[in-house]
């Protein structure tokens, strides 16, 4: 799109194979693929926050971990600052590990309970051989102060901290190596709302101070709206819509984005009595994803064409793409018949129509 992309993800695929052991092969079983990430493309501009949203199981965390090469991709490419991450030499990979960091969702399981906070925060410095012990302690104190903790707490252990404080420790750890890019994988979803606001404000301050680029993975749309510059919406291993945050939230083009926004309960009196259940059924299994558009089993506008053909990304505005035939006025979609579950007027008997597995 524009020139200043720090991270370019192209057709990224991550399949997990089942029935793929030697024993299975001897028995002649066909390996079956779980398509967790199935051809995802987006880029993250330098200095921006890209929000990656979707429901659980849509592959957003797998995408973020695969693009950092924490999981081995089964296809596609990721370029970081112009270099292909999957083709790097080990020296380049070492540098990449310093420049790109991650903050995990669960502040309880992502910190080693047997290490002091100071050791946790500066472990990266030790591994990369960038500082001796005294420098590391000094740097740890500096980082703790920066994320709103006290330098006195450097010798404490993680269990002595609350969830919000632990998440600050995780953020300090990510900052220790002066990265350019941080993946924030649901960094506030385990926190209470009052603490969540503190951490969001901290993340914004740090971005301004250090010129960081964020990939913010979350399922909470109001948090994503607050922190992101651009948003990518994922459904079942695919990105269905990307665009600037205001356009996505005010003028969503993909029916899934529309339904997702519709479901979010707003904290205001006008919300009272509103029905939000516009989408029926559950997310299908990525083991056996639906043909064509993956959303067609739940989409209120689905027609025969959606079942046959995978919609490409249509340009629906400046930097705004949506993978839906409805954005193409000339597509044969408009001539094809509506799918069975899209009934006009009758309404279904119950909430759940589609099945889970």
């Amino acid at each position: 799109m524009t020139d200043d992309a720090l991270v370019e993800v192209e057709d990224l695929e991550k399949y997990y194979f089942e029935n793929d052991t030697l024993f299975d092969r001897l028995l002649g079983r066909e390996p079956s693929a779980v398509r967790a990430v199935d051809g995802v493309s987006f880029d993250v501009q330098r200095g921006e926050t890209l929000g990656l949203v979707g429901e659980s199981g849509c592959g957003k965390s797998t995408t973020s971990e695969t693009l950092l090469a924490l999981r081995e991709a089964t296809g596609g490419s990721v370029r970081f600052d112009g270099d292909d991450v999957f083709e790097m030499t080990s020296r380049e990979r070492t540098q990449f590990r310093q420049d790109a960091q991650i903050v995990f969702q669960d502040p309880f399981s992502s910190l080693d309970p047997r290490m002091t906070v100071g050791e946790i925060v500066t472990e990266g410095l030790r591994i990369h051989g960038l500082a001796d012990s005294a420098e590391r302690t000094a740097r740890a104190k500096e980082l703790l102060e920066r994320v709103g903790l006290s330098a006195r707490q450097v010798d404490r252990y993680p269990h002595e901290f609350s969830g919000g404080q632990r998440q600050r420790i995780g953020i300090a750890r990510a900052l220790a190596l002066d990265p350019e890019f941080i993946v924030l994988d649901e960094p506030v979803s385990a926190l209470d709302v009052s603490v969540q606001a503190q951490v969001l404000n901290l993340l914004e301050d740090l971005q301004d101070d250090f010129g960081l680029t964020y990939l913010f993975v979350a399922h909470d749309l109001s948090v994503v709206r607050h922190i992101s510059d651009r948003v990518a919406v994922m459904y079942l291993g695919k990105v269905v819509e990307t665009g600037p945050v205001d356009e996505i939230f005010e003028d969503p083009q993909h029916p899934y984005t529309q339904a997702l926004l519709d479901s979010v309960p707003r904290a205001s009196v006008e919300e009272y009595g509103r029905r939000g259940g516009t989408l029926e059924g559950d997310v299908p299994s990525p083991r056996n994803p639906p043909s064509g558009c993956r959303f067609h089993t739940r989409c209120p506008h689905a027609r025969e064409a959606c079942k046959r053909e995978l919609p490409p990304d249509y340009d629906v505005g400046a930097n705004h793409d949506a993978a839906c035939f409805r954005t193409d006025d000339t597509h044969e979609y408009w001539q094809s018949a509506p799918l069975e579950h899209v009934d006009d007027g009758g309404g279904s008997s119950g909430g759940g129509v589609a099945d889970d597995d």
Binding site: E55, S162, G273, G277, G346, G351
Partner: protein
Amino acid sequence: MSRESPGERDVTPNAGRDSTRERDASPRAHRDTGHERDRLRVENLTTRFFTEEGQVNAVESVSFDVREDEILGIVGESGSGKSVTALSAIDLIESPGRVTDGEVWLREPDLAEEFRERTPDAVDGDFVDLRRLPKGVRRSLRGPKFSMIFQDPMSSFNPSLTVGEQIAEAVEVQRRASANPRSTRSRTQGYGLGKLIVDTLVPGREYTSDASRERAIELLEQVGIPDPVERADEYPHQFSGGMLQRAMVAQALAGEPDVLFADEPTTALDVTIQAQILDLLRDIQRDRGMSVVLITHDLGVIARMCDRVGVMYAGEVVERGSLADVFEQPTHPYTQGLLGSIPDVEDPAPRLQPIEGNVPNLVDSEMPDRCYFADRCPKAMEACLERPAERPVDGDPDHTARCVLADGEYDPATALPDDYFEEDPEATDAPAEGGAADD
């Protein structure tokens, strides 16, 4: 279960966002109806946990009332005592916890008549105090009077029994309870190897009666589970999270309860599934004229569902009132802070206004003898160094706050300095258990 047909919103891609903003009704005013519509009155309920680390004051003198045909919301952060309040009200607190004080008045004219002579203390008009009734009677009310649905459907079902069987069991318990209301024995079936073998050999044997099986299937159908006959014979792991939450609602409805406690019923679910379950809960509540107590940390869920709201902090109800009272005229600074710290999906504020500090832990020895929120409160004054009582906001008995600001003004002259509570840095650095949400 009526729902808008998706086809109606087929006009423009964006129309869905506004056209679905249909409302069932506006928030109903309860002002003039007073107490005659009360179904449950909880007064000064106090629950303590006696742990090795010391006494934990999980629920501190909580009062609220639940009226007929309404949804009462209880909102608070994790560790604020909202779940324990519900469990205390229906007598499900287990050791080391104990309800140490308070009254739970249930409107139950028949029971009131029966106990009026025997235990006059336990009767007040049509109301009986559950805590003063014999244990057996209290237990017999669980099911036909109260029921509860829990946060995590995956861990609330027994993985080794089919979903239908577990709902049928609830049906059977109710059937026996209504046949012999005072007996609490032999309500539940025994499980063991013998039963497993017999069940495997004899088809249909796992159900105690055909009637309970049919009723279970009927309940599954009512909560919107497709193919209920087949699904009844499946195990919990074959259900998705949303479907299993529907099944739990079905189980809770087995006894046709008057009051349903729903403890974070949608927290473990995705937002589109959450919307389905909330719609279902509302439909069931309306159809049956049930009262629902909805416990959640999500202010959006409260706004969508609840007629009246109680806000909990550190084991206390700090503010309660109608939805409009609490959301549009929040009086307690904690309520204000909570509303200010959530990002709005429609209007992104440039900067969030978080509540500074952490949720206190509730160990008795560390609980100060002052307003529990004073150390985080931007409006703390000298008057806050005493424990505030629950008082009406501007004289309105239906809108109360446990705060001196309910009937007073903020006086900057007596404001506490910012570092007033920081004289003991070690204490403020101590871990606060409530830091993380329970999802």
